[in-house]
């Protein structure tokens, strides 16, 4: 096979270059726009598949150029990057189909898809960043590209939510800038290296290193929606359904969680972080967030808000797995990065379908929707059961590894936490399923008995639901998310 050292760059450019073209297209050129969107997304999936094959064979990609003396813009394609890129590429393709269907007659489609592409480009950049400086670049680009998507509706409520979103994320970005500078001054490099770059600096100046850890995790915690920095996430629910789906599954919260991984594994190194005594508080914080998010989710009647608080809770599984400092927990964390993405995107697309087809936006209106929209609700139910952790669905696999990791690390409380969290998940998801399948619909005037939504809306959630099943059921197959995460953990822990 041909060798292409610029492959990571091409993958970045598929979505980055699509964006200006999409901006410039006239609103009525819907077919051309769809063709470009789907063509680029499909091309990207293929390129990513090629890249992961190459990386699995041990090819090393490393692109860099100097921005300031000693400070480089650096792209790399290590296995951890591949994990995130693959998630983003596959879900971009699926969400694009969904968005085309969802926005078929809406206004500002050119703007929407332009920023959508830009947003996906930013996630790829985040994944492939070879140092914290490059990471910061794409992290801020992600903020800027998602803001117009969040306020897409353009009404007063959306703009208020957008302002909250912008204040939280840009303030977080500013703190990340501070942290990046701190790292640069302290360590003289911002590179991501398995095992960390701060071992010496932390030994000489533990207080500064601890402070840096707090600053960096605090900055990333905003996007990762760690308690108490999560308040923007439920508010950002005013965004259109495909945007929420992308925000929760791939783009924003995952960027935060992914950043936490990079910082703990490759800036500090898990051993240094442990020696600084920072992993235990982080694990505790993640635990608090898991319980808090679930408790808040129970009280929400708005479907999207309930899902949002569920995200607050579920994304912290990833942080928990990282902070437990055990290789098995790390496998669970990494797998959950993928699994949570698949499950949550399914649920958001299904929620969007309910709103489109039946006008149902609240849990209390969900009576009998299972019969009205069986395909959508089947997908939703699968994802919900996966979230609760029912075997053999994807969510079970991550929870299993997290629990094992907790035992391995001698942290028995993790088992209790996971059981409690699963119970709470059941408390807020099962009533939704119960209403959907086992209650008769209120004889609501107006709503059709079997609404017709296009295949572009119906197919994507079903597809991702099947992926939830496959990722869980075939977790041990080669190139499954779980297998790939074992590959990564070998790298992060053997250095």
């Amino acid at each position: 096979m041909m060798d292409a050292p610029l492959l990571p760059l091409f993958i970045l450019l598929t979505s980055l270059l699509a964006s200006p073209v999409l901006f410039a297209l006239p609103e009525r050129a819907a077919r051309l726009r769809t063709a470009i969107n789907l063509g680029m997304a499909a091309l990207k999936v293929m390129l990513v598949a090629w890249l992961s094959l190459k990386v699995a064979q041990g090819v090393i990609y490393d692109l860099r150029f100097e921005v300031l003396p000693g400070l480089e813009f650096k792209l790399q394609a290590d296995p951890l990057a591949i994990l995130f890129i693959a998630l983003s590429a596959v879900l971009w393709l699926i969400t694009t189909v969904y968005s085309v269907g969802y926005l078929e007659h809406g206004p500002h489609r050119a703007r929407f898809f332009g920023f959508f592409s830009l947003c996906v480009a930013a996630t790829v950049g985040i994944a492939m960043s070879g140092n914290l400086f490059t990471f910061l670049l794409f992290y801020e680009l992600l903020t800027l590209a998602t803001y117009p998507l969040v306020i897409h509706c353009g009404n007063a409520e959306a703009l208020r939510a957008g302002r909250t979103y912008l204040i939280y994320t840009l303030a977080g970005g500013l703190v990340l800038l501070l942290g990046t500078l701190g790292l640069w001054v302290l360590a003289g490099t911002t590179d991501f290296v398995p095992g960390g770059v701060l071992t010496d600096a932390a030994a000489q100046n533990p207080l500064a290193a601890q402070l840096l850890f707090v600053v960096l995790i605090g900055a990333l915690g905003v996007k990762a929606a760690l308690f108490p920095l999560h308040a923007w996430l439920p508010i950002a629910m005013v965004a259109p359904a495909p945007v929420s789906a992308l925000l929760h599954a791939v783009a924003v919260v995952k960027a935060g969680a992914f950043g936490i991984m990079r910082v703990v594994y490759e800036v500090f190194g898990i051993e240094t972080a442990q020696a600084l005594g920072m992993t235990a508080p982080l694990a505790a914080l993640a635990g608090v967030t898991i319980i808090y998010g679930s408790l808040k989710a129970i009280t929400q009647d708005d479907i999207k808000k309930r899902l949002a608080y569920s995200t607050v809770s579920q994304v912290s599984y990833i942080t928990l797995g990282v902070a437990l400092a055990s290789p098995i927990a790390a496998v669970g964390a990494l797998a959950h990065l993928i699994h949570q993405g698949l499950m949550k995107i399914t649920m958001f697309m299904a929620a969007g379908n309910l709103a489109e087809g039946l006008g149902v936006k609240k849990v209390s209106q969900m009576d009998g929707v299972g019969r009205a929209m069986p395909g959508t609700m089947l997908a939703f139910s699968l994802a919900a059961l996966g979230m609760i952790g029912l075997p053999p669905l994807a969510g079970f696999v991550s929870k299993w590894y997290l629990a094992q990791g907790g035992l391995e690390a001698g942290q028995g409380w993790v088992i209790a936490l996971l059981l409690g969290s699963s119970l709470l998940n059941a408390v807020y998801f099962l009533p939704m399923l119960h209403r959907a399948w086992f209650r008769d619909g209120a004889a609501d005037a107006g709503a059709p008995a079997r609404p017709r939504i296009g295949w572009m809306l119906a197919a994507p959630p079903v597809t991702t639901a099947v992926l939830v099943l496959v990722a869980g059921g075939f977790a041990n197959a080669p190139f499954s998310p779980l297998e790939w995460t074992r590959f990564i953990v070998d790298i992060e822990y053997l250095e």
Binding site: F23, E66, P69, E140, L141, N155, L166, L170, G173, L174
Partner: protein
């Protein structure tokens, strides 16, 4: 070396002859202006090549040489400033063709070009001068042309603002001249090389302080900024872009040069300068948050940004000056490009919508999306988000401050950044809100060729950040700070 000689002379005299010709032939003024600009840009490129290849170049005018005669000198910093001036100037000129094409603007067309070319003469003169009396002459030339550009639109508000600007400018020049006089009394010479050997006596420090206050007035450093917002907000768009992007930079540049060649008074005074900068960042931010009109908001952001440049200058104390000037220079370049783009975009938005009241931007069914996009890109650089040049400047500022433990400057920068996010997001909300429009909003409205120049500038402001390493190494040519050239 006769080659360099002509390049430096050309950079000063081409615009001067252009100004005279444009004044005498008002019908061909635009053509003369563009040709003069293009030729000047060519001369600057030529000069840049020379400096890149063989380091700083010195040209004794009339063959006398300092301290008796007048020297022209170009090093990395001068050429960078010249390049900023010609690149921004050329693009602003192109967009002025469109901005001044209205039927009622014949008088503006007639005077814009001679004034702008005269301004260019003065600015280029500042960047090539090597003695402080020459600098004084050049800043007077700049003031004359800049006041003319301010009142060009002829509105009552503009004339009033122009008058205020003129008083401030005259006072500033007078203070500078007094400083120059004291220096001459002390040392008997005015060239940079002569200043370098001087002992920092009390009288000399007083002279430097006088010069600094004069320059602070001219560059509108808080609390001497009172004239700037009205002057920049009420001028026509291309004039605002020139005033905000280029004119204030000349005085800033002189501050950098003085710091290079004069014994810097003391740590306490440098801290005071930084405090004034911090005051500007905060006060400019507050006023931008309260501004009701788009152009006024942009003008207040200039006040804040100039403050930030002084913070960069003071970021690492007296010992850090050898590095701090580079952070300040990066921010000067970044602000020049981004602010010119932003003022042009604001002018385009005002032209298309018919007003620039921020609160009512979202009521208009016309959305000049390209101009809005330009505005947003420029804002990214001014806020200091990556990968823009503004970000790199801010990075350099905070890095130096952090490394030498001056955490208060880091805090000021972060507060200023957050404030700029807050005031620019007021404008974005106006761009992106649609529920207050009664008529249907069309698509791709208000796209015009006139958007090309500001959009180019805005992309440059973002993209130049990735070229910061070559820019920095260029700046260092012939500029060993604190060491005799």
């Amino acid at each position: 070396m006769s080659v360099d000689i002509s390049a430096m002379m050309l950079a000063i005299f081409l615009p001067l002859f252009g100004a005279i010709a444009a004044f005498l032939l008002p019908r061909a003024a635009a053509l003369i202006g563009l040709v003069a600009l293009a030729l000047t840009t060519g001369a600057v490129i030529w000069l840049a090549r020379e400096v890149w290849q063989s380091g700083a170049v010195i040209l004794p005018l009339g063959g006398w040489g300092a301290p008796l005669g007048i020297d022209l000198r170009a090093d990395g910093l001068s050429v960078a400033m010249l390049a900023l001036t010609s690149a921004v100037g050329l693009l602003v000129s192109v967009s002025a063709l469109d901005a001044l094409k209205g039927a009622g603007q014949s008088r503006q067309r007639q005077y814009f070009w001679p004034l702008w070319l005269l301004l260019l003469t003065g600015i280029n003169g500042v960047y090539l001068s090597t003695d402080i009396f020459n600098l004084y002459v050049m800043i007077e030339v700049i003031a004359l042309a800049a006041v003319g550009l301010t009142v060009l639109s002829g509105t009552r508000a503009a004339v009033q603002a122009g008058l205020e600007y003129m008083y401030a400018s005259i006072l500033g020049a007078l203070l500078f001249l007094m400083g120059v006089g004291f220096v001459y009394l002390q040392l008997g010479r005015l060239d940079f090389a002569g200043l370098m050997d001087a002992e920092p006596t009390g009288a000399l420090i007083a002279a430097v302080a006088l010069m600094f206050v004069g320059l602070a007035l001219k560059t509108a450093l808080f609390p001497l900024h009172f004239w700037l917002p009205a002057a920049h907000a009420n001028a026509t768009a291309p004039a605002s872009a020139l005033l905000s992007g280029l004119v204030v930079k000349a005085a800033l540049y002189i501050v950098l040069r003085l710091a290079q060649y004069m014994p810097f008074p003391s740590e306490a005074l440098l801290t005071l300068v930084g405090m004034m900068g911090a005051g500007a960042v905060i006060w400019g931010g507050i006023q931008a948050l309260r501004a009701e009109r788009l152009k006024l908001l942009v003008a207040w952001s200039t006040v804040a940004q100039i403050g930030l440049i002084f913070v960069a200058f003071a970021r690492a104390g007296e010992l850090g000056l050898t590095e701090s000037w580079k952070a300040a220079a990066l921010l000067i370049l970044a602000h020049g490009v981004a602010k010119a783009a932003m003022f042009l975009a604001a002018g385009r938005i005002k032209d298309e919508i018919g007003h620039d009241v921020i609160r009512d931007l979202d009521r208009s069914p016309i959305r000049p999306t390209l101009a809005q996009f330009t505005f947003a890109l420029a804002a990214i650089s001014l806020i200091g988000l990556p990968p823009s040049l503004g970000f790199i400047g801010k990075w350099a500022l905070m890095e130096g401050a952090m490394a030498s433990g001056y955490w208060h400057w880091v805090v000021v920068t972060m507060v200023g950044t957050l404030m700029s996010v807050a005031y620019f997001s007021r404008v974005f909300a106006g761009f992106l809100r649609f529920d207050r429009v009664r008529a249907p909003v069309g698509e791709h409205q208000g796209w015009a060729l006139a958007d090309a120049a500001p959009l180019t500038l805005a992309f440059a402001a973002i993209g130049l950040g990735l070229m910061a390493a070559p820019i920095l190494s260029f700046l260092e040519i012939g500029y060993p700070f604190g060491v005799a050239p």
